[in-house]
């Protein structure tokens, strides 16, 4: 039996010209895969296609519940933290929402509106909203790119620990190679409209922030950087 949880075969997405062409991707259940590449190479387009937001040619087999976190959190300003988290879930089960608030460490902020939160807290709410639907596949579109360096690092560590516990199949697109190595099981580079190189990350999870000071980390980072 195939252990593929997500399978993308011959994916083509065309706007004026082809942005993605003949792209293949397989992901195992619980695997964390990152796609790195330069700006404008089609990383977000790939996520949009998998989320069902773009027209595409080819085959995408994915599990039922797909969730997404965008770069700029995109919380609804008219909803408080609890309401934003509950947005996608059909259940109004308060215990479930409270459990998510506990997970994203925002206890006491349930009634706060997005404009009353810091950037890191806003992004945690966006992640909470994504987790609240109990997703089988989590899509992350440069989720920490709009945060300052320290907040971004803290959020990476927090997400690392969170996903090690929850084992959700996750696809991250980012231009930050450090972030990709710190979080992923596998990294692909997106170049020339398709995935070109595959890198398996040898470090055990959950990973500490200090891992990036290891020579192996820097050597891997250099190899990935040189590949695109």
């Amino acid at each position: 039996m195939s252990n593929k949880h997500v399978s993308v075969k011959g994916l083509c997405v065309k706007f004026q010209d082809y942005v993605l062409q003949d792209l293949f991707l397989d992901m195992k259940k619980g695997e964390f895969v990152s796609i790195v590449g330069k700006s404008g190479t089609g990383k977000t387009t790939l996520l949009n296609a998998i989320a069902g937001l773009n027209h595409y040619e080819g085959n995408i087999n994915k599990p039922g519940k797909v969730s997404m976190v965008l770069q700029n959190h995109v919380l609804f300003p008219w909803m408080n933290v609890s309401e934003n988290i509950a947005f996608g879930s059909n259940t109004k089960n308060k215990e479930n929402i409270n459990a998510i608030i506990n997970t994203i460490e925002l206890n006491g902020k349930e009634k706060s509106y997005p404009h009353e939160l810091s950037g890191g807290q806003q992004q945690r709410v966006a992640i909470g909203r994504a987790l609240a639907i109990d997703p089988s596949l989590l899509l992350l579109d440069e989720p920490f790119a709009s945060l300052d360096y320290h907040t971004g690092q803290n959020m990476q560590n927090w997400l690392n620990q969170l996903l090690s516990k929850n084992k959700i199949t996750t696809l991250l697109v980012t231009h930050d190679i450090d972030e990709a190595i710190a979080l992923s099981d596998k990294i692909y580079t997106l170049k020339n409209k398709a995935l070109e190189n595959e890198f398996t990350i040898p470090f055990t999870k959950p990973r500490d922030y200090n891992i990036r000071y290891k020579p192996e980390f820097q050597e891997l980072k250099q190899r990935i950087y040189n590949s695109y």
């Binding site: 949009n48 937001l53 969730s67 965008l70 995109v74 609804f76 300003p77 008219w78 947005f87």
Partner: protein
């Protein structure tokens, strides 16, 4: 509540200049009464001319006209903003109607609806409709793409996307449209009560002109302006309370 001292000082300067012009005697004093005379007229109108009744009559017409005009404005704005066919077919017609000065329609409205309350309420509703419609239309056409993207990822029901995302996203625009509509409603109430009315602030001002009481005319105008400003103030405060996330300029 924070007191706006700058505004208070500016008001005092305006009243001071007014008194100065009166004292110097640049104008005929019967045509240009002093601020204190106008204040006395306001008190006189309240005590002897039943000004409160005229205020409530005008406010009733304004409220009804505002509610009717704004409701249709919001409904048409939302529908035309989200349904391209409706926008393309109806918007050009509305844009022609929008260019009509509502004041110029009053004689026609009197012919059609008579001189009763219906004509006045219709005039106000007609004038209020356009700023609310246009503002709502712009808002509902410009729902941020990221909001719709998130909505489509998490929610499959179009109805839920509409009332959870599209409509709330349009609320700041609706608020702006209604604020513009409040000012327009007062103008139209005044104009429609100038002719063919036996009550309302416009009537008080028109009657004061007939009996040549300039102080009463100014008193009526000041009461009208103050009421309009108070309505706007109350609207902004209520909107901020109900929708704390909407950024509304209080000025």
């Amino acid at each position: 509540m924070k007191i706006n001292w700058k505004a208070i000082v500016f008001f005092l300067i305006v009243i001071g200049l007014w008194q100065l012009v009166f004292t110097i005697g640049w104008f005929n004093q019967s045509l240009f009464p002093a601020p204190l005379t106008v204040l006395k007229s306001i008190i006189y109108l309240f005590v002897h001319e039943n000004l409160l009744y005229h205020i409530f009559t005008s406010l009733w017409r304004i409220s009804l006209g505002l509610i009717i005009g704004a409701s249709f404005g919001v409904l048409c704005g939302i529908l035309m903003g989200r349904i391209l066919f409706l926008d393309e077919s109806i918007a050009p017609f509305f844009n022609i109607l929008r260019a009509f000065p509502p004041v110029a329609l009053i004689p026609l409205i009197i012919v059609w609806f008579g001189i009763g309350d219906i004509a006045k309420i219709f005039s106000i509703a007609f004038a209020v409709f356009f700023p609310v419609w246009l503002s709502t239309l712009i808002g509902s056409k410009n729902v941020p793409k990221d909001y719709l993207k998130v909505a489509k990822v998490f929610v499959k029901s179009k109805t839920k996307i509409f009332y959870k995302v599209i409509f709330p996203s349009t609320i700041p625009f609706i608020m702006n449209g209604i604020r513009l509509g409040i000012g327009t409603a007062y103008v139209m109430a005044f104009v429609s009560e100038l002719a063919g009315a036996s009550s309302g602030l416009g009537y008080v001002i028109a009657y004061s002109q007939i009996i040549y009481r300039i102080d009463n005319m100014l008193a009526g105008l000041i009461v009208l302006g103050t009421l309009a400003a108070l309505t706007d103030f109350c609207f902004v405060k209520s909107a901020k309370h109900i929708f704390p996330w909407v950024k509304i300029n209080e000025q």
